[in-house]
Amino acid sequence: MHVNNTSTEKESLTKRKSVLGIRLFFIYLICYAGFVAIGVFQYELLAIQVLGGLNLALAYGIGLIIFAVILGVVYNYYCTKYEDEADAEPSNEIEGGGVA
């Protein structure tokens, strides 16, 4: 993150959370793009029965919704952990507005 940080958060903490966010974003992006790609290039696959009699389209679609919630919870868990760790550390950094 290279923008001015107007809050009182340590820059190293901001960067750590940002890196985590970007990684999780790409994991989800790959899953989402996979759904779109199957629809466009291998449409027949979507009709295959996969889970409890549901076709792949339904299972994948509902799965994407549930996966988003799970990733959100994981992200919050780690961000809170990073924040608690940063709060516990003695502050050597200037707070409030560094540049990544």
């Binding site: 290279h2 923008v3 009699g53 549901l54 994407l64």
Partner: protein
């Protein structure tokens, strides 16, 4: 559709609207500064804000539009739910916290936090206005649809009513009341959707969904014709009037007791058969006939039923209660009857005809009925599908009325937590829309003229009280979302454009006053657009708002947050290119060509969703313009000083 007033619904409606308006006046007394008007003073609890986020997001598009599109087009409607939710991933992982650190009240403040550029102020406020207006259109269309069965009013009156109430709400209080209205509505909507889904699963499937006569389910007639040389020459007890070929279909007009009706000539196991259709005939003298009779005769029916129910390979009449998995898998193996529309002239009359189309459950539960990506796919249809999914994924994080909600909480940590709560609430709701949409498709409740009323009409089949509460909450849904959008728009005009761009240096009080006048103007404009776009599925319309937001705002936000060399000229140019390119593609799309009366197939191109072209164009613009016109020295120097 022909609706009767429900007095129970009316009572609930007035209680709810009274509650909403009362809440806004209560908070209105507390609103004195521009901070409290535009951002609720940054004092909202993250839990309230999270559900309010869900309330903002679960607009008419989600509750009315997605359920309606699933009811009519099956899985293609669910694509919107998948894409709408996926968009929150961009918001949570890339935008929420950094954005909270940037600004004060508006999207423009955040973008301009280090440049102080007038070009950015102007382009971002225009973008906020355009995206908000495109998001307002479907809300107003949905409001009109809702009011028809609720109050027995025409569509335009519903639009006018919502516009008037919202202008009162926004002009009285601003963001704090909007937040609490959204919190209340978001929570109620999720609870009521759970109740509705429970009823759907408890009832299971039946070939005759009459709900003990309460829904007035109509069984359509089938007649055996005598045919000679592909011409219908006689039908018992009916007089043959005319025969029309439309595409690969043949429709026959028959008369009985002085009433003329249209039938669809279809094949069956026992030979050719004439299946009754639904028609709306616009006559040359301006009068309208519903199934050959005036509106008052009530011969225009609700539709949508199953023609075959298969359980474990056996055909059955009904299933009884089902688990969620059993519900979905049974529908996949069965067959449902959809109603498809054709239009044709009949002498001086214009006929809009809806005929029965039996559809295998397996096809209904796959993409392809609206967005052709499998059989019958063309390059255009595949590109359109990719473009839609791209817009939904990228649009959420760039919607101004969603972005301003990051400013209503105290800290970036609260912004993150409220986003996650919103994702969980919205995700749960979207899974319920699947059941509500499919339930509407098979329970004989659909209005062929507008898919938007599927979920409330399904509720009506389960009881007047459930319908009343759901309709009142759905109406509040529209009120809350429209209010949020109008606050975002008025912020763009009063704060960004007049105060910052025109350098009027308004006092705090004056800024709030100008904001309220701007809210009034945007409200009037939204009312007019809501009337103009009657009849289009609201999710489809929201798809456009997402595409414009994704193209105009997201490249600018992402480059600002993640690329050091991004310049003020790059941001401003990217916003303008994003707006213009997406608008150009939308205004020349098949749907708009149809609206202009020029015929959808004659449109310049066959792309309904612009993001596939307009988003990359905006990305290239911000990149190259930032390289060609680097940051002003002063900005770069300040940054270097901070680094060192």
């Amino acid at each position: 559709m022909i609706y009767e007033i429900s007095y129970t619904a009316l009572i609930f409606f007035f209680i709810f609207v009274g509650l909403v308006v009362g809440l806004s006046f209560y908070f209105g007394r507390k609103t004195s500064s521009s901070s409290s008007y535009f951002a609720a003073g940054g004092q909202i609890h993250w839990g309230v804000n999270g559900i309010a986020f869900a309330g903002d997001y679960l607009s008419a598009a989600s509750f009315l539009g997605i359920c309606g599109m699933i009811a009519v087009s099956g899985f293609d409607g669910f694509l919107y739910a998948i894409g709408f939710l996926a968009g929150w991933i961009v918001a949570l992982f890339l935008i929420a916290e950094p954005f909270k650190r940037l600004g004060k009240y508006t999207f423009t403040d955040a973008l301009n936090s280090k440049f102080n550029s007038r070009a950015i102020t102007l382009s971002a406020s225009i973008s906020t206005l355009i995206v908000s207006i495109f998001y307002l259109i479907p809300q107003m269309v949905g409001a009109g649809d809702l009011v028809m069965p609720l109050l027995g009013m025409p569509h335009w009156a519903g639009v006018l009513l919502v516009g008037a109430i919202v202008i009162i709400i926004v002009a009285s209080a601003g963001m704090a009341s909007t937040t609490y209205v959204q919190f209340l509505k978001g929570g109620l909507l999720i609870i009521l959707s759970l109740v509705l889904t429970f009823f759907i699963l408890k009832n299971g499937f039946t070939l005759n969904p009459d709900f003990k006569g309460s829904s007035g389910h109509y069984t359509f007639m089938e007649l055996c014709p005598e045919i000679e040389n592909e011409k219908i020459i006689a039908v018992a007890n009916w007089e043959v009037i005319s025969q029309q070929a439309v595409g690969n279909k043949t429709f026959v007009q028959l008369s009985q007791d002085g009433v003329a009706r249209w039938f669809d000539l279809a094949a069956s196991q026992n030979g050719p058969v004439l299946k009754e259709t639904l028609t709306v005939t616009q006559r040359a003298d301006g009068s309208i006939l519903y199934n050959g009779e005036p509106k008052e005769s009530r011969r225009f029916y609700q539709v949508g039923h199953m023609s075959k129910i298969i359980v474990n390979g056996e055909e059955v009449q009904e299933t009884g209660a089902l688990s969620p998995f059993q519900f979905l898998s049974t529908l996949q193996q069965s067959e449902i009857v959809r109603f498809l529309q054709v239009k044709f002239p009949d002498g001086n009359d214009e006929v809009s005809l809806y005929y029965q189309q039996p559809t295998a459950g397996a096809s209904f539960m796959l993409p392809g009925l609206k967005y052709k990506i499998g059989r019958d796919a063309t390059l255009w249809s595949k590109l359109d599908f990719i473009s839609l999914m791209l817009a939904l994924f990228l649009g959420t994080a760039a919607l101004p009325h969603i972005l301003i909600r990051y400013y209503t909480v105290k800290t970036p940590r609260d912004a993150r937590k409220s986003t996650i709560l919103a994702i969980a609430a919205i995700g749960g709701f979207y899974i319920l829309t699947l059941f509500m949409g499919l339930g509407s498709a098979v329970n004989g409740v659909l209005d062929v003229e507008s898919s938007n009323m599927s979920a409330p009409l399904l509720a009506r089949a389960f009881g007047a009280v459930l319908f009343s509460i759901i309709s009142a909450v759905a109406f509040a849904t529209v009120l809350g979302t429209v209010a949020g959008l109008i606050v975002a728009s008025s912020g763009a005009i009063a704060h960004d454009f007049i105060d910052v761009y025109l350098k009027k240096n308004l006092s705090d009080l004056k800024k709030v006053q100008v904001g309220k006048i701007a809210a009034f103007a945007v409200g009037i404009f939204a009312i007019l657009l809501g009337m103009a776009f009657k009849g289009i599925n609201v999710s489809f319309l929201v798809g456009w708002a997402f595409a414009i937001a994704a193209s105009a705002n997201l490249p600018a936000i992402l480059f600002l947050l993640f690329w050091k060399k991004t310049s003020e000229k790059g941001i401003a140019a990217s916003i303008i290119v994003g707006i213009l390119s997406s608008l150009l593609i939308i205004l020349t799309s098949p749907t708009m060509w149809d609206r202009y009366g020029l015929g959808a197939s004659n449109a310049w191109h066959q792309l309904e969703n612009p993001a596939l072209i307009s988003f990359p164009l905006a990305v290239l613009t911000v990149y190259f313009v930032s390289l060609w016109y680097p940051k002003r020295n002063k900005v770069a120097r300040i940054e270097n000083e901070i680094v060192s």
